[in-house]
């Protein structure tokens, strides 16, 4: 069994009357890419800040690499790489100087540091921009610089707090591939995001947060297995008599139908060949229909079913 890298136990953080973290617990094993998924304001960043001892908390315990994490745990902090939500670099220094600055906070040896800085530059693909000031970089390149600053010292644990906010799709893919590569090289990764597609794409295990609480945890398949919905079939159809809809509703595994005058949505719980059975009913009734598509459940469906609100529609 792989050792535990991060253990958060019963964490409570209050801002006056507001409970930002409500008895939050978590255990992350070595080699995982652990996703913290939740809408804005759900407590992801507060969790990260408490984990890094940037914030004090009211109750609970945090252990990193099997040792208690405190504001003075500098030996532990040296093993952690942090990529913050906001780009945290000095505009007055060049790309290379910025990476060297952050790397130097962890590695004192000049030669070793130089090699690490070059590796980081290469890793994020900023070789052509090393002498640029951050202000001259595009949003995507700036995010890559932010990542290089966080990983240059080759940490064992990398924490990425929404690293792809306001990044173009091309840069986003590059960042996500980079995170997977870091994980393959042996780093344990904690990845927070409110973009469920990203979390689904790269995380080996996911915790879904809402209002400071952990509402679900597991692999993406485990999470999807927690909910009733296993398949949603959507059919564009302009006419749907009540008896036909009733017939579909009584098909095996169908637990919900929805028709808005142009589109029929049928939600199924388990079973196979749901689509074939539904289309057979429509053909038997000699009804014409347009596009047909079948969707597997997403993490948004998981969030929707557990909390009653859609993850993507949640407000800050």
């Amino acid at each position: 069994m792989k050792p535990t890298v991060v253990k958060i136990d019963n964490l409570v953080k209050r801002y006056g009357e507001l409970v930002a973290l409500d008895h939050f617990s978590l255990e992350i094993k070595e080699g995982e890419i652990f996703g913290l998924l939740g809408p804005n304001g759900s407590g992801k960043t507060t969790t990260i800040n408490c984990l890094l001892s940037l914030l004090s908390f009211d109750k609970g315990e945090i252990e990193v690499f099997g040792r208690e994490m405190t504001p003075t745990s500098y030996d532990i902090k040296r093993e952690i790489g942090v990529i913050m939500q906001n780009v945290a670099v000095l505009d007055e220094l060049s790309v290379r100087e910025n990476i060297d600055y952050f790397c130097g906070l962890y590695i004192a040896d000049k030669e070793k540091r130089k090699a690490c800085v070059e590796d980081a530059i290469k890793f994020v693909g900023l070789e052509d921009f090393v002498n640029f000031r951050p202000k001259k970089l595009s949003g995507g390149l700036l995010r890559r610089l932010n990542i290089a600053c966080g990983i240059a010292h080759k940490p064992k644990l990398i924490i990425l707090d929404e690293p792809t906010v306001a990044v173009d799709p091309q840069s986003r893919n590059r960042i996500l591939e980079g995170i997977q590569e870091l994980n393959r090289e042996g780093a344990t990764v904690i990845y927070t995001s409110h973009y469920m597609e990203e979390v689904e794409q790269i995380c080996t295990r996911i915790a879904i947060m809402d209002k400071g609480r952990k509402i679900a945890e597991g692999t993406k398949d485990e999470l999807k297995g927690m909910i009733r919905n296993s398949e949603s079939v959507s059919i564009e159809i302009l006419e749907l008599p009540d008896d036909v809809r009733e017939k579909i509703a009584h098909l095996p595994h169908v637990y919900e139908t929805e028709y808005d005058g142009t589109k029929l949505t049928v939600r199924c719980s388990g079973g196979r060949h749901n689509l074939i059975r539904i289309l057979a009913v429509l053909q038997e009734a000699e009804l014409g229909f347009g596009r047909v598509y079948s969707e597997l459940p997403t993490l948004n469906d998981v969030f929707l079913e557990i909390t009653g609100t859609a993850l993507r529609d949640s407000k800050e």
Binding site: G16, Y74, R78, N86, E92, L93, L105
Partner: protein
């Protein structure tokens, strides 16, 4: 030492904003220092004159003699165009033509339009020459009124107007100039450059290093907040000390003076003011203003303090109300020390110590204010987070 080195790099990147102040300071400072050495020498300004005497009488020659005494006479030109060109290119400032019949008109008391005068560029000196000519005519008229002939009156006027009054520049007994007055004049202007350079560079650099996200990110690393602060402090001290040392050395080199005796008090005085400038820069940075706002604040603080406290204008010329207000500014006490060292005020070791002590007090007060502002900002940031 990463923070230390990074901070110095940030300071270096901000130094461009200070270069213009340094250049201006050396230019103005050196000029002022040098001009301060010739205070007791008075010299009449001389004009380049062309005199064309068409009358050629004893009276007209007397006038020519009078004008020649205080001005440089250029030989007459062959034609009018050459004269116009010469006046245009200022090789000639003024042309006076004494027309035929001058002596007769002078005898008859017809002085209106008695000369033909030409000039192109208006200046104080040209007004002065016109006044000289009028004065001459009026003096001749005065002697004529006393019963002298025109020729006698002309000669008497030349003799009378040639007399020079002995002008003595009076100074109070305690305003006698010391032997290092040039260097101390240089030191007098130091508050301007210290405030300008230190505020324009240190404040933006501090703001950059204390940017919230950057501080958070640095706090995640293996470096303690105490170490971070100490490295910033060390780099700031090195920078401010360097600025002070450079200007102190420059003062000695420009004026060719070694620091000895009481001059070390001027050096200490400048160090205290440099420290005050640094503390003020840190205080301003606690409000995280933009670089433009820092620049405006620097101008206000620098020029306001320099004009109110007697850096640019001697304190003896400032009103009592202004001086009373200036006592609440460190530059006032800085200038008092300089005034006691260069002899404008009587030297009193106790007074010097008091002034230096008050400057140190200003430093302590602004350190306290900076700490209070930082604490209140941290508290309000936590409160804002709680309200969010």
């Amino acid at each position: 030492m990463q923070v230390f080195k990074a901070f110095l790099k940030v300071l270096r990147s901000k130094f461009g904003a200070a270069i213009i102040y340094i250049a201006l300071f050396f230019l103005v400072g050196i000029l002022m220092t040098k001009s301060g050495t010739d205070e007791s020498v008075w010299e009449k300004s001389k004009m380049k004159l062309v005199i064309e005497d068409l009358d050629d009488t004893p009276e007209s020659r007397a006038l020519t003699e009078f004008i020649s005494k205080d001005n440089t006479i250029i030989p007459a030109f062959a034609n009018e165009d050459d004269l116009t060109d010469a006046m245009y290119y200022t090789t000639v400032d003024y042309a006076v033509t004494i027309p035929k019949g001058f002596s007769e008109r002078l005898a008859a008391g017809e002085t209106e339009g008695i000369f033909e005068c030409r000039h192109i560029h208006e200046s104080y000196a040209q007004v002065n020459i016109q006044m000289q000519l009028e004065k001459y005519i009026n003096t001749v008229a005065a002697y004529q009124a006393l019963g002298k002939s025109t020729q006698e009156a002309s000669q008497a006027a030349v003799a009378a107007l040639s007399k020079e009054a002995n002008v003595e520049l009076l100074q109070k007994e305690n305003e006698t100039k010391g032997e290092n007055s040039e260097l101390l004049t240089f030191f007098r202007y130091m508050p301007y450059i210290l405030l300008s350079v230190i505020m324009n560079t240190l404040s933006p650099a501090m703001i950059a290093m204390n940017r919230k996200d950057f501080r958070y990110r640095t706090d995640c690393s293996g470096i303690s907040p105490h170490s971070y602060t100490m490295q910033i402090f060390g780099a700031s001290a090195l920078y401010v000390g360097g600025i002070w040392a450079v200007f102190t050395l420059a003062g000695g080199i420009i004026n060719g003076t070694m620091y000895t005796g009481r001059l070390w008090l001027a050096v200490l005085n400048a160090l205290l003011f440099a420290l005050f400038s640094a503390v003020l820069a840190i205080f301003v940075s606690e409000f995280s203003p933009s670089d433009n706002v820092v620049s405006i604040l620097t101008q206000v603080a620098t020029l306001g303090m320099c004009f109110l406290c007697g850096v640019f204008i001697s304190q003896s010329l400032l009103g009592s109300g202004v001086l009373s207000a200036a006592k609440f500014l460190p530059a006032y006490w800085y200038i008092r020390v300089i005034s006691m060292l260069n002899g404008e005020l009587a030297f009193d070791a106790g007074e010097v110590a008091l002034a230096l002590g008050i400057e140190a007090g200003f430093i302590a007060v602004f350190v306290l204010l900076a700490v209070l502002v930082r604490r209140s900002r941290v508290t309000s940031a936590v409160a804002r987070k709680a309200m969010a």
